[in-house]
């Protein structure tokens, strides 16, 4: 056991010596791999940051019933009452927003203030906002309710407020698939870079490999420094990639913060959680070792 540990220590020392012997080449490889890795990391940051937004909104599904513009003032209250009576089990809450209140709310928004001043009257309808109780088939149920309420007298439009959340979720799903494809492409870049690096190293260490075999080195002994080279290069590159992604998020978040402020909200991109990043570093290190093993097996058959 001690002997095996010593052999590993020796292999690590050989790896570090080889890396130090060609600093420019080692740095270039690190940069190429780390830049490639920073791309899916940034993509993951976007997905990780968007997911809570979608989740937060989708837990409060609402349907808004807009009445016809010329509907009588009492119509909204009647519709609210009918909703409560007919769908008591499905409805968590009903509130009426009169056209005057809606206009006042809109006037409070500086972006709309000027536009509303030039309008002759109140162009907004009365509205009834219906909150639904949580249900496994909520989307389907909300759709059925909306279709039924559209036929009620005095109703102009029923808007499903969860629709945009569904669209966002669909977008996130597409984003996840895109990220997976990007991660696969990056994995190929990592594989190719490590394979080539190890191939070059194996060629330049041909004499040393020959001598090691001559004096009784096992193939594991010959391969070990190359496996360390692959995994060490990749894990360092992954850490550097995380650093690059973190740096790239600073200007991105500055720009997003200005945008979010204009919507009176807060939003910032953040890297995936530490345990996910650690898993990514380990995965990339394993990928590097596997690529190195493949390369060293192919390129040391002499």
């Amino acid at each position: 056991m001690k002997s095996l540990l010593r052999q590993h220590r020796y292999a690590l020392a050989v790896t570090l010596r080889r890396l130090a012997a060609a600093p420019l080449s080692s740095l270039t490889n690190l940069l190429v791999i780390s830049l490639a890795l920073s791309l899916p990391l940034l993509g993951a940051s976007l997905l990780v940051s968007m997911q809570p937004v979608a989740r937060q909104v989708s837990v409060t599904p609402e349907l808004t019933i807009f009445l016809k513009i010329d509907a009588p003032a009492a119509a909204a209250e009647q519709i609210a009452k009918r909703v409560r009576q007919e769908h008591a089990a499905l409805v968590a809450g009903v509130r009426v927003i009169s056209k005057d209140r809606a206009l006042n709310d809109l006037r409070g928004n500086p972006a709309w203030e000027q536009a509303l001043k030039v309008l002759p009257g109140n162009p907004l309808p009365d509205a009834v906002v219906v909150s639904l109780t949580a249900n496994d088939q909520l989307a389907q149920l909300a759709d059925q309710l909306a279709q039924g309420w559209r036929k009620w007298p005095g109703v102009e439009l029923v808007q499903l407020d969860t629709a945009w959340v569904q669209r966002l979720e669909a977008l996130l799903r597409a984003g996840r698939i895109g990220l997976l494809l990007l991660a696969l492409s990056v994995a190929l870049v990592v594989l190719a870079t490590v394979f080539n690096t190890v191939r070059m190293q194996a060629m330049s260490q041909r004499e040393e490999i020959g001598v090691a075999r001559l004096v009784g080195a096992t193939e594991s002994f010959v391969r070990r420094p190359f496996l360390y080279l692959g995994s060490l290069t990749c894990s360092l590159a992954a850490l550097l990639g995380i650093g690059i992604a973190r740096l790239a998020l600073i200007p991105l978040n500055d720009a997003l913060a200005s945008l979010a402020r204009s919507y009176d909200t807060e939003f910032a991109l953040s890297l995936p959680p530490a345990e996910l990043l650690a898993a990514a570093v380990v995965s990339v290190a394993i990928l590097g070792a596997l690529s190195a093993r493949w390369s060293v097996q192919r390129n040391t058959q002499f």
């Binding site: 052999q7 020796y10 090691a212 009784g216 096992t218």
Partner: protein, 249 residues
């Protein structure tokens, strides 16, 4: 210790470099392999060292049939056979001691013990003052001695050397042969290929003569195909007086 039975060796579809070779070398013998260039001396040594497989026949080294030895087990046999090839195959980007340390790193020996043994090996070949010097700064004879130090540091049971004194002056050649003799004295089976019949005659206890397609053993009464004279020494029984470790003390 070493036994060849009807061994043939050819490369590709070419002619046999060695044909129907059968001999046995006992533990502790000092054997000299003579013969002209291209006769197959180096090939013979490579077969003993397990560096090349025979085309036919069986070879037994240190109790192992090489043709039955798995690829996984082969490195362990190589540790028991110290090999010094014609080209020393030293690592020129490493110091002398680092070259000698390599076979010990392969076995996973503790660094302090490994360093002590490497120093002892360098001292044995007269290079203790040059342990931190790179091989490129050493003379031809010193490089050869460094290769010997690397071959003996793992305390092999068998030492094989291919032309270890080629291109050396007589004094250097004698010093190197003395090192081999020292190891042989403590029981290390030694097989050396050389052109220098006169020098070898002073050290070897037995001689093989190889010529293209022919082989003669000075210890054998059956040497019917060998016509050229020149077997220098009579075979004698080896005497084991100590262990290989003693040579490094």
């Amino acid at each position: 210790m070493i036994e060849f039975q009807h061994v043939f060796k050819s490369y590709g579809q070419g002619r046999n470099i060695l044909a129907d070779l059968s001999f046995r070398v006992s533990a502790g013998e000092f054997v000299y392999v003579a013969g002209p260039s291209g006769a197959g001396k180096s090939t013979l040594l490579k077969l003993i060292g397990g560096l090349e497989p025979p085309s036919r026949g069986s070879i037994q080294v240190n109790g192992h049939r090489l043709d039955r030895l798995s690829a996984r087990a082969r490195p362990y046999l190589r540790r028991a056979v110290g090999v010094i090839l014609q080209d020393t195959h030293l690592l020129y980007d490493r110091s002398a001691i680092d070259n000698v340390l390599l076979p010990l790193a392969v076995t996973g020996l503790a660094p302090s013990l490994a360093r002590a043994r490497a120093r002892a090996a360098l001292e044995k070949v007269g290079l203790s003052s040059k342990e931190n010097i790179h091989p490129i700064e050493l003379s031809g004879g010193e490089q050869q001695r460094l290769a010997i130090a690397r071959a003996i540091v793992n305390r092999p049971a068998i030492l094989i050397a291919d032309e270890p004194t080629a291109s050396l002056d007589l004094d250097s050649a004698r010093r190197i042969m003395e090192v081999f003799k020292d190891f042989n004295r403590v029981g290390v089976t030694t097989v050396i290929a050389s052109h220098d019949d006169t020098l070898m005659a002073s050290y070897a206890t037995r001689a093989f003569k190889v010529e293209p397609g022919k082989f003669a053993d000075s210890a054998s009464q059956r040497a019917p195909t060998y016509t050229q004279s020149g077997v220098m020494v009579k075979s004698q029984s080896p005497t084991l007086r100590a262990t290989p470790d003693d040579a490094l003390r």
